[in-house]
Amino acid sequence: MNEQGKPLLVVGGGIAGITAALEAAEAGCQVVLVEKLPYLGGRVVRVHQYFPKLCPPGCGLEINFRRLKNNPRVTVLTQAELESLSGSPGDYEAVVKIAPRHVSPACTLCGACTEVCPGERADEFNYGLSKTKAIYLPHALAYPALYALERAACPPGCRACVEACRYGAIDLDQQPERKTFRVAAVVAATGWVPYDASRLEGLGFGRAPNVITNVMMERLAAPNGPTGGKILRPSDGRPPASVAFIQCAGSRDENHLPYCSAVCCAASLKQAGYVRSLYPEIPITIFYIDLRTPGRLEEFLTRMQGETNVELVKGKVGKVEEEPGSGDLILTAEDVMTGRKTVRKVGLAVLATGIVPRSEGLPAEFARDEFGFLADGAGRTGLYAAGCVRRPEEVAASVQDAAAAALKGLQCVVRSVRHG
């Protein structure tokens, strides 16, 4: 393949974007990878374990980051967003806006800055379940391996970190900048956000502290999470006496997300496994409409069905109320198989909130369906989508998608060379 082609622009540095960038680069393309956060890894880096293998995402990310470090064809820009796009397939002009990190690549991760930093910020890595200093390393595997400073969290006039840094890596006055790239094609891999659980009236999120979402559950189960991997109730920091999973929290609901989010069934089965391995005895209930574990994932369902004290109830939970005093939750659900209403008391409820495509910031040239997913085949040549911004899907499918999008991008690069 000709190495002279224009680069491919990949927007989004989650597993789909990282993969699209690497697959194209290893095939010979130049790639610009743009990520909004200060680190790559998107949603998966915050996941405790993948289903169905129950392996840590860091293992695959470590390989991917090594691929990135060794590949001079990929330019990674973090805290960066695609601001505008013009031109046509084979020759787009992309303007990328880069927010200041305030920490340069001279940072060595020595950590002297954090020791002296008086500021604090909510840790978005832990979905706000914990705090970091204003200057922080996003997580231990962070790529790029650099600290970042959230300037808004600095006390006025504070220069403690600048003085502590022996490597001159901190610049409090760094300004946003814009970079313009001429690219042959764009792959949007901007991923997803969890559906806003506070909009699920009646399910108690935001009012009852022991109602959490599935993404928060990942952090509670992760050894590098806010509880060191112990699943503890937010209300009192104690182990739950029982756990309920509420499926389709938003998904398959005409009033919220009229589509199926595709991964929540397997995710909840997996999380039920987290609970089971920490607390071998406590009752676990999963309320579902249909259990959707396609392909090999079926084994995963079978295994959980065989667990003791795991109950699968076909029926939607209508109401979650907090029991005054105890922090326990009273769930009211319909049991479809018996046709009766069922009321349960549980210690912790996990809402299997769905996947909302994060497509709102992308240029209008990307065609969307009514839900905001980037529609298949409806986009223009030169603009491609991969991962959950395209449709709700699990990690392996996002990665497949990313390889496919890399190919489409590569074709544009090849054509752009041929036609000059």
């Binding site: 697959e23 231990a140 022996r166 199926c260 989010s261 392909g295 496919a404």
Partner: protein
Amino acid sequence: MAKKVGVYLCGGCGIGEALNLARLEKVAQREAKAALVKTHPFLCSPEGVQLIRDDLAAGAVDGVVIAACSPRMKTEAFQFDPRQVLERVNLREHVVWSHPPKDEETQALAEDYVRMGVVKAQKAEPLEPLAEEIARAVLVVGGGLAGLTAALEAAEAGYEVVLVEKEAQLGGFLAGVRERFPAAPPYREPAPDGLRSKIQTVSYHPKIRVFTSARIVRTEGQPGAFQVTIVKDGQSVPVRVGAIVMATGWKPYDPARLAHLGYGVSPDVVTNVELERMAAAGAIRRPSDGRAPASVVFIQCAGSRDPEHLPYCSSVCCLATLKQARYIRRENPEAAVYVIYKDMRTPGQYERFYRAAQDDPLNFFTKGEVTSVERQADGRVAVRVRDTLLGGEIVIPADLVVLAAGMTPNAADGEAIRALEDAEIKMVKGETEAQRAEAARKAEQLQSHKGTEILHLTYRQGPDLPTLRYGFPDSHFVCFPYETRRTAIYAAGAMRAPMDGARAEQDAQGAALKAIQAIEMAVRGQAVHPRAGDLSYPSFFLQRCTQCKRCTEECPFGALDEDEKGTPKPNPYRCRRCGICLGACPERIISFKNYSVDMIASMIKAIEVPGEEEEKPRVLALMCENDAYPALDIAGLNRLSYDASVRVIPLRCLGSLNIVWIADALSRGMDGVLLVGCKWGENYQCHFIRGSELADRRMENVKETLQRLRLERERIQVAELALDESWRLPALINEFVEKIRRMGPNPYKGF
């Protein structure tokens, strides 16, 4: 060998405060005989890096040892010619961040690491990348939707394509389909398939050569240079390709095995595939009397999700039923459709399709279990269902019953075929009666694989891709779905895993990309995933080979073939550079220019072992460099502390462990050996498949050595560790060292 090794010590990040750098310099210069030693307070700064660049440019050094942070850090700063000898010594994460400063044992640890790094660099040689002539052409096997897509997409990227289809026509399963699942908004109606135009584009594409009614009789060679023999009309056609996409599709589960769901009780019990063919050919009619059915029952999971049949979900049958229900309702507005399901599985936007079907008042859906399907006196078929949402048991009289039969792969199991061949040979040549009988039993078990070859690879490890589960040659890895155990051969579409057409097209594009990438990496002489970009490869000193066949058997990627005598025939382009062959070889004749038995052995010998009276144990820890080693880095980053008597050497894979290293360590007087690799077993995490498991198995052989030396077996421990378990490492290390202390020193100290 790097003759002039330069050692560059960094004093930053606390290294300078915690260690006596002057002593480290002396160790590097006087003991390790480095050609040049320089210290810089901030080595990864532009000035620090320039120091190294200048020495390289001036020819003052031909190999570089950077004693600073972990080799996983600052890789962009310390990037030189990738062929050059570069060794990183981890003084930061593994020494000063995890051990007390200004401490004798901490200093000793750092000095050992410097000695080890220098000797490794001295033994390493610059890399000379492979540079054979590479064919920029892709073979696609199968002319269905996935195969057509892979062929077209690879050709559109500028590559020559050879497409082989066994049938006379292209199109595969889709050729007999009326419409496809809705792929575009509003996702409510089935849509035309567009197959014909795709077939046309492929047929007339200047870069695609199509062979129909053709099969492959032989595939030999390696990535970049596969020699494939295609037979068409009795003629042999040789083609040379660089990579292969397998897209041989699927076949429906054998309906003869669905008698329990009424298949065979009446001609009016058909499978979903039979119904689709009928619909594609014209209208849907009852096979018994040719009349349009007024009531149709679909039985979902006919075979699928059933431990007696297919334990997996076939992923598409719910959608196929929704589509076929739509055909029926369009053709006959009076007809009623009943769907008996376990769970309706319509992921993503397909939920809208389900919703559209639910909105139709004459579609009835119920969860339930079918207990019997019988022909009634009036010729209709009675379907008895229990545990329904309608309460209790119901009987539905149907004009037509459709069994949503599952998908099975159209794949060959290369390893099973090889095992069958081995068993058949052993049936005759086995030494004892019992061996021959055992082989016969095994051959009997594997009979169904006879003659199923598709690719006819001439690989020692079998003629086709190995399979993962249920006969599908899928990837084991969530994050690497295109990981393949036969380099540059990728599976796509429903032969790989049950999937719908839209997904299969996507998958085929991805597989085409991987095929192209494998070719381009071969052109550059680089390894593909997971050591992507590695320019090293193993060489074999065959004069000393004893034909034990361990390397050819243990290579997870089938890279090594054998001649008649059993001597390995390397195929470096198939190689993934894990070094498992190097670990397997008892004669130690396999080595990489930058990774060899001698290099690691020399590192072990560079460790200074204090005398018995000093009561300072020394423990060797060999760690997987992808998981355990980074986990130890993270422990350092988090300033977790652990015993300083451990000397860590990262291995490409724990499977590359050669047991001579253990003998070396123990005979040098080291007190114990800790091996830390990835998890193994069903959900293994080793990216080289069986590396840690193989290492564990090799420990059986070590135990004999230990017995002979009268050393305790407990001096060696194998541990499994995932990358996110850095918090476990200090305890793991400390407990092992404690155990060793209790055992007392190795009596071979000082010998």
